[in-house]
């Protein structure tokens, strides 16, 4: 088990909970998309990661948004819990490159898969902001299914 507190400066024992073992089988984007069988990323190598067909394999905000629009999401302004809606958040680096995605739970807390490490539930999106994940840039929502 990695020392998550040393990796994420905003994470504290009180504001997160580990909810799975470590695994390479899926990553943060897959977890946001509720797929635990494949890793999702717009990799230039089309066999290393799954990416929805027809959407460019480029690490841009637009491409990530398009992938989740394909899943029924639409951009929105608020990260607050909205009755009847599910939200995902896209983090980007200071260079504007997507780094991470999180998914909002029914409780209003967020759930994230941390690379090849564990899934966690975190109180807020700010918990994972910092040097590696950058900051939240886009929120998308869809009606809960």
């Amino acid at each position: 088990m990695a020392d998550l507190l040393s990796l994420f400066g905003n994470l504290t024992p009180q504001n997160h909970k580990v909810t799975s073992p470590e695994t390479l089988n899926y990553n943060c984007v897959a977890w946001a998309a509720e797929d635990v069988y494949r890793r999702w990323w717009p990799s230039a190598n089309s066999r290393i990661h799954y990416w929805p067909s027809g959407i460019p394999r480029q690490e841009t905000v637009e491409v990530f948004v398009r992938a989740f629009v394909r899943l029924g999401y639409a951009p929105c302004d608020s990260r607050e819990l909205e009755e009847g809606y599910q939200k995902v958040a896209l983090y980007i680096s200071s260079a504007g490159i997507p780094t991470h995605m999180a998914r909002q739970m029914d409780s209003g807390k967020w759930t994230s898969k941390l690379g090849t490490l564990e899934d966690i539930v975190h109180e807020s999106l700010e918990c994972l902001e910092g040097k590696d994940y950058g900051s939240v840039f886009r929120i998308l929502k869809r009606k809960r299914r």
Binding site: R39, S46, R47, I48, E59, G115, T116
Partner: protein
């Protein structure tokens, strides 16, 4: 059979955690052991490390211990096998021998460094750095542009044996490096993103090409 001692930096040992240590949150590094003619461990010495990868306990798999081989190993370390009974005990029970455990672990680590080939040492050092610094990332750019990952790619075909050995021990994100070094991509497009199938495809390729 004359015991031989080789060292492997293996991050597996989940059964070891479950069965003998009871601390699944701590990683175990396998440092050496007696190998049979097929290269499988008959017994092994392992060190339990803390989150900072500092050795905190040492032991030998108890069910298949070859005492003579263990004694030889410790003789080579110029010390006594005073800690090979540690598996199966709780960490609190280990406390009284803490100093001895640390001493042995440090010696084993030194022993490990002395017996590995320079290139293997370099690979393992970079692999450790890369894994420690990117395991929490999903961004392929961040993962494969890490300096240690790039250095391993820079080793070229000489790194393949080490990569395949590492991949056999535990699935890791070596796929980009394997593709870059070999120029091959044995993964079926329909398996995109499916880690277990990607690993199987590459291990099959490794066997067919004599790297495993």
């Amino acid at each position: 059979m004359e015991p031989t001692f080789k060292t492997h930096d293996v991050d597996w040992a989940e059964p070891l955690h479950q069965d003998y240590v009871g601390r699944p949150d701590l990683p175990v590094k396998v440092l050496g052991g007696q190998l049979d003619s097929d290269g499988r461990y008959l017994c092994f010495d392992a060190v339990l490390v803390n989150q900072a990868h500092e050795p905190i306990a040492l032991g030998v798999r108890p069910k298949k211990v070859f005492v003579d081989a263990v004694n030889l190993a410790f003789h080579q370390l110029r010390t006594k096998p005073i800690c090979y009974h540690l598996w199966g005990q709780s960490l609190s029970e280990v406390e009284p021998e803490w100093g001895a455990v640390q001493f042995l672990a440090a010696n084993l680590l030194e022993f490990k460094d002395q017996t590995e080939e320079p290139l293997q040492r370099e690979f393992q050092r970079h692999a450790r750095n890369w894994s420690a610094e990117t395991a929490h990332l999903s961004s392929e750019t961040q993962i494969v542009l890490h300096p240690s990952y790039q250095r391993i790619i820079g080793m070229g075909p000489a790194a393949l044996t080490f990569i395949f050995r590492d991949l056999q021990a535990e699935p890791k994100d070596w796929f980009w490096a394997l593709n870059a070094i070999t120029g091959e991509d044995p993964v079926d497009p329909s398996d995109a993103g499916n880690v277990s199938k990607i690993v199987d495809s590459w291990l099959r390729w490794g066997r067919e090409h004599g790297y495993i």
